[in-house]
Symmetry: C2
């Protein structure tokens, strides 16, 4: 690679690595936290109705209808909602909008691995604060003296949840900087911080339709915060890309947010499957943390994480292993259908010589 | 607006303003350079075939099929192609990937008004070089001594084209910095610089499917350059948003690139309508520059630009007026269907008291 023409700012970057998206073979895919259930039938209908000659026209740059649908669901005003091309883009825009070089942003050492990538991309200063040994968050280490706080709740890849009382403590101890709570997985059993918005002008909550709304393929994410915070993200977005959501994504997003019964039904199924899977895995000798997300974080005393991942792959099952300190013996396993999870548990049993 | 929580980096930003997308009334919409013809029927078919339960899965982060289709059309290798969420996003990523603060980027004073916005967003140094009075580019002022060059060809909003011989001179005089040629409108009659890629490792060409492929609603843009330049844009993209193109946009893009006969037919119609419209407007006393794009840049000695824009709006016709020095008496008029352009010309005649 010749980097002669690369900006000096990007020569040292190590990009984020998404989970594998295999093209060659049919796997049981438990590696990227996708929802095993299809999107609401209303979503597919909305897309079909929108896919006509109007695609020659630009989409609404303000995503007005989608903001209204999200605002209604979340119980906030439309000017408290920002919509973007997946929550990854929303997070990236938030990092740029709220954090300033020279003012250290803090997040846990074990969390969504895109956070340090954004900070490197934008040349922000940051500190990764070590989680406790049981992967709980040492709240007292997030109480002030920094330039911003980022908390994934429930945390990825651990699945552990921080109670709202602790989020509150962090918000109150950081009144002059933004506290970003990434709730990509909160719909699977965690308490959302959105109700705290009326009390804390420094709070922004980031959500996605990829997981609990089964729309990873459509790239729809959003942020909810005070109008002043949302205006900041809008300012960056409108200085970078006026139309991040295409016409079909906008239509799909509205239909997904409005079909609350389908959302409730599918997330309840995933939570039930998760609890059943956790029980089986514990009976096989795995350590399984309580999870409020659509994945389990597991380890087994008899086998290294990477070896187990590879053995599962040979059996046609993909799970996520992270080559990172402290979690090398752990695997993150997305909750699939009951059948998929039974196949997964059976494969684990076979591999472990049960 | 309270900017207390805004990053210091963004407090002075003035975002890009896209053309009006009216919701309340049916206009003849000649203000945002959309294509009056629908996308290829194959595009709509491809979208319908892709819109099923697979939307629960992430799209291909590498856009492999779309890159292959673009590479085939452009006569380059797939690793010379970068795909993004509309050419605005592609341009933004390129500005970050190739230009370094302290090294002045140059572009004309009258050009796509997003360029200075990107430079402000990323705190790049830049200089706007005045076009000649007839809106031609003073090539000699772009020959070296800067940190990067951005040329929109054909230029927006003027429609004027730079011949490849001049692009060549600029490339040769700037061997150590990237020359970005934005060809958003090149399919309507300009010579593409893509054939120069084999000679100039400092060239990157940015294109869009919004205009000549009638897909503004789907947000698909791409860049073509050497593998080393494409790798730089990829590095920034993968540090910001792994999946900028959703599954339906990827499918739509492939179908659009592959339906060459439809593309040839519709762009030929637009060019024919453009020439007929230019002739009529000249007969009404307008100054109309030759255009190689899907718009005309026009002025009339008897009426100020803004007054004419407002008078057209009252008659249900939207055109673009820019409140900027040197072009306040000019209007940018997108080429619509023959019927739309006849209505536009008739309205002009009426307004001007013909």
């Amino acid at each position: 690679m010749d980097k002669k023409f690369w900006s000096e700012r990007i020569r040292g970057l190590v990009p984020y690595t998404p989970g594998e998206q295999p093209k060659d073979r049919v796997f049981i895919k438990l590696n990227t936290n996708e929802n095993p259930w299809p999107p609401s039938p209303n979503v597919l209908k909305a897309i079909r109705e929108e896919a006509d000659e109007r695609l020659r026209l630009y989409p609404d740059p303000e995503a007005t209808a989608l903001k209204a649908a999200i605002a209604k669901y979340c119980g906030v005003a439309p000017n408290q909602v920002f919509c973007g091309n997946g929550s990854d883009e929303v997070l990236g825009l938030c990092f740029y909008a709220f954090f300033t070089p020279g003012h250290k942003v803090v997040f846990p050492d074990i969390t969504y691995s895109f956070y340090p990538v954004y900070t490197e991309l934008f040349h922000l200063d940051y500190e990764e604060i070590p989680l406790n040994d049981d992967f709980t968050l040492p709240v007292e280490k997030f109480l002030g003296g920094n330039g911003g706080v980022v908390i994934c709740n429930p945390n990825a890849p651990t699945g552990r949840t921080l109670p709202l009382s602790d989020i509150r403590r962090i918000l109150e101890a950081n009144p002059d900087v933004v506290v970003l709570v990434d709730e990509a997985y909160a719909d699977f059993g965690a308490e959302s911080a959105i109700p705290l918005l009326s009390e804390y002008p420094n709070l922004i909550v980031v959500c996605t339709l990829s997981k609990s709304r089964s729309l990873a393929g459509m790239r729809i994410g959003f942020a909810v915060g005070s109008p002043d915070l949302v205006a900041a993200v809008n300012c960056v977005k409108n200085s970078f890309n006026s139309y991040p959501l295409d016409r079909l994504a906008l239509a799909a997003g509205v239909a997904a947010m409005e079909d609350v019964p389908y959302f409730e039904k599918t997330r309840a199924r995933i939570m039930a499957t998760r609890e059943a899977t956790a029980k089986t895995l514990r009976s096989l000798g795995f350590t399984v943390h309580d999870s409020s997300s659509n994945f389990l974080f597991i380890t087994h005393p008899a086998m290294e994480g990477h070896a187990l991942q590879l053995a599962l792959r040979e059996r046609g099952i993909l799970v996520r292993w992270f080559d990172r300190p402290r979690i090398r013996d752990w695997l993150r396993v997305t909750i699939g259908t009951d059948d998929e999870m039974e196949a997964f548990c059976a494969a684990c049993k076979e591999i472990l010589g049960g």
